[in-house]
């Protein structure tokens, strides 16, 4: 293959990857929940995507193609990791959840959720937003948040749980409720 078209192919890949990377990351994180695991899986997945990019037909749906690769990476990662399998969902369930994710993407439901989520976070109190900040932006552990906010770990855990639930419900309401 002439060098020129090799470069073009590399460029096409990098373009597509950077365009879709965030959404792909969200897809993996949604399935495996643990951000660090998701990061590792995405990393491995990107290498596989690059290796197999020759089989990808330009002009077809890159994100869907990439999600397929990533899903296999998720399964492979779960097999490799030594976590107790009893304390998480089965491979079969992950497959069902991945299918459900595909339909959410197809229906563009998640785009709407994301818009609404931004709005819903603004409705939280300053204090609650700060706690979400710590958990997500600073990636603080519950233990660390409990120190910084002078709450018990149990209280922080329950508060985070409540905040996520409130956000979920707020987003549902925004989407199914009113129009602008």
């Amino acid at each position: 293959m002439p060098e020129n078209s090799d470069n073009e192919r590399t460029e096409a890949f990098l373009r597509l990857l950077s365009e879709h990377e965030r959404k792909l990351g969200i897809y993996v994180t949604g399935l495996v929940a643990c951000p660090q695991d998701a990061q590792d899986i995405l990393q491995e997945g990107k290498i596989v995507m690059w290796r197999q990019f020759g089989q990808f037909e330009l002009g077809t749906n890159f994100a869907a193609w990439a999600r397929k690769i990533l899903f296999y990476q998720i399964l492979a990662y779960r097999r490799k990791s030594k976590r107790d399998r009893a304390e998480t969902l089965s491979d079969k369930m992950l497959e069902l959840l991945s299918e459900e994710s595909e339909s959410a993407i197809r229906e563009q439901r998640w785009e709407k959720r994301e818009e609404a989520l931004v709005h819903c976070v603004t409705k939280l109190t300053e204090e609650h937003r700060e706690i979400l900040h710590m958990r997500y932006r600073d990636e603080s552990s519950i233990e660390r948040i409990s120190h910084r906010t002078e709450r018990t770990e149990g209280a922080v855990y329950r508060l985070l749980s409540r905040l996520r639930k409130n956000l979920y419900e707020c987003v549902e309401k925004e989407i199914h409720g009113t129009t602008a």
Binding site: G25, P35, T88, L89, W110, Y157
Partner: protein
């Protein structure tokens, strides 16, 4: 799923997210999800929200295949900074929030309209804070507010590199800049020129092939400098200049429409043409709204919107031209020109390619309206039941035109026999035209289209160009 079941599911989903599931809980969660598709849907939505909150933090921290190309990892500010300064606000208003500035960022993505981006190095989400880097807009419009007070509207296709709060580089395409007090000296560099602002509103267009730079000043004072020699010229309101690389072009008077508009306005230079505008004595323009306009009201613009919700907000625009200037001469051709501009309200992505219709009010006794007093109920021939209709007994369709999705700027309008016949049939030397958008938004919160009214400070009023025999 009833409420109790859903609460239990969300509780377990939270444990999944926090990775604190016990073996018992994992079995329970598995059973719930296995039995019910709705539960799976709820679960993936919940974990998706979690994933979004996480990815807001690491967005753009990419790569790992660095050796393939110059593909630098980057860490970008996103939602949290936007929220830092946020009180309770509407989603659309979010685009207008000024986040707390960070040292590394100096501008904000104020608003994007049907924007499609190619891989640049900066975040493109509304409200995102921007530092140095490149934006590549493939389609639509984007407004970038610099902390210095300069605002740049980028019109696709365009490529803009942000340097700092006073400097940017337009590699290709069109940028319209509005520079408020305090930001004088704001500079747009192009491949062939430096366009330096001295408090004004101006547009720069860079030819993608040649790098040639066209500058037009709508108001105020702009300096165009040749970087190689330091030679410069000044452009004032209504003047334009073209730098093609060989040297500074001459200063020309008058704004050039054709470069900017998707459908260039025809130039009526021969003697046979008379151009009437809604700013002429005896003429008028106004828009009316049905439903709650959400404070989205403009003095300078005439708004158009066909809401999905029958209750609105809808908007229709009315134009009245005084025809007395035409005298008794026979009308040969007539043409209506409207200068569209972005409103910043609503989402272009919620409205497809848009069709607009122009009607003529056939009952001359209805020409007697005033922009001061007219409202939705009193507007002549208005069909109150929706955002697009007019009562057929008193209005006749004269023509239609289209704006592709994401296009909000340019000159559009109608010409043709129907318009000519309508003007000929007039008996009281006044003609009322109504512009409506027939395309309905496909989701709520769709874009509000608009064109400049006679009260607009920088853009031409709606005009009716008539060629007389």
């Amino acid at each position: 799923m009833n409420d109790t079941e859903r609460d239990e599911l969300l509780e377990l989903a939270n444990a999944y997210v926090e990775q604190t599931l016990t073996a018992d809980e994992a079995r329970k969660l598995e059973a719930i999800l296995d039995a019910d598709e709705e539960a799976r849907r709820c679960f993936v939505d919940f974990t998706h929200d979690h994933a979004v909150l996480h990815w807001e933090q690491v967005q753009g921290e990419t790569a790992g295949i660095d050796d393939l190309a110059d593909f630098r990892p980057r860490r970008l500010p996103t939602m949290w900074q936007t929220l830092a300064a946020a009180a309770v606000i509407s989603l659309l208003a979010l685009a207008l929030i000024k986040p707390q500035p960070k040292e590394t960022t100096f501008a904000t993505m104020e608003m994007t309209a049907a924007a499609r981006w190619e891989s640049g190095s900066l975040p493109t989400m509304d409200g995102a804070r921007l530092g140095a880097g490149t934006l590549k807009l493939v389609r639509g419009l984007a407004t970038i507010q610099f902390d210095s007070g300069a605002e740049v509207i980028l019109e696709a296709p365009a490529e803009l590199e942000l340097i700092d709060e006073m400097n940017c580089v337009l590699a290709l395409g069109t940028a319209v800049a509005e520079v408020s007090e305090g930001a004088e000296g704001f500079t747009i560099q192009t491949p062939t020129a430096n366009v330096i602002d001295h408090g004004t509103r101006f547009a720069v267009n860079v030819n993608p092939q040649t790098g040639a730079t066209q500058t037009q000043v709508f108001d105020g004072l702009v300096e165009v400098e040749l970087p190689a020699t330091g030679e410069s010229i000044e452009l004032r309101e209504g003047q334009r200049n073209f730098v093609a690389g060989q040297g500074l072009g001459a200063v020309s008077e008058g704004l050039e429409e054709a470069t900017w508009a998707p459908t260039p306005a025809p130039r009526h230079r021969d003697a046979g043409w008379v151009v009437l505008t809604t700013g002429d004595p005896g003429s008028d323009d106004a828009y009316v709204w049905g439903g709650d306009p959400n404070d989205h009201i403009s003095d300078e613009l005439l708004l158009l919107k066909n809401s999905k919700d029958p209750a609105g907000p809808h908007r229709k625009s009315y134009l009245r031209f005084d025809l007395s200037q035409l005298g008794d001469r026979e009308i040969q051709t007539a043409e209506l020109s409207l200068r569209f501009v972005p409103t910043g309200w609503g989402l272009a992505s919620h409205v497809g390619d848009s069709e607009f219709q122009v009607y003529g009010i056939t009952d001359d006794s209805f020409d007697d309206w005033s922009s001061e007093t007219m409202d939705w109920e009193s507007a002549p021939a208005n069909d109150l039941s929706n955002g697009t209709g007019l009562l057929p007994e008193t209005a006749t369709l004269l023509g239609s035109f289209q704006l592709p999705q994401g296009i909000q700027s340019g000159t559009f309008g109608i010409r043709g026999d129907a318009l000519k016949q309508f003007l000929k049939a007039d008996s009281n030397q006044r003609a009322t035209l109504v512009v409506v958008r027939t395309t309905m938004e496909n989701r709520g919160g769709g874009i509000v289209h608009a064109f400049a009214s006679a009260r607009h400070s920088g853009l031409p009023a709606p005009s009716l160009s008539v060629k007389l025999r």
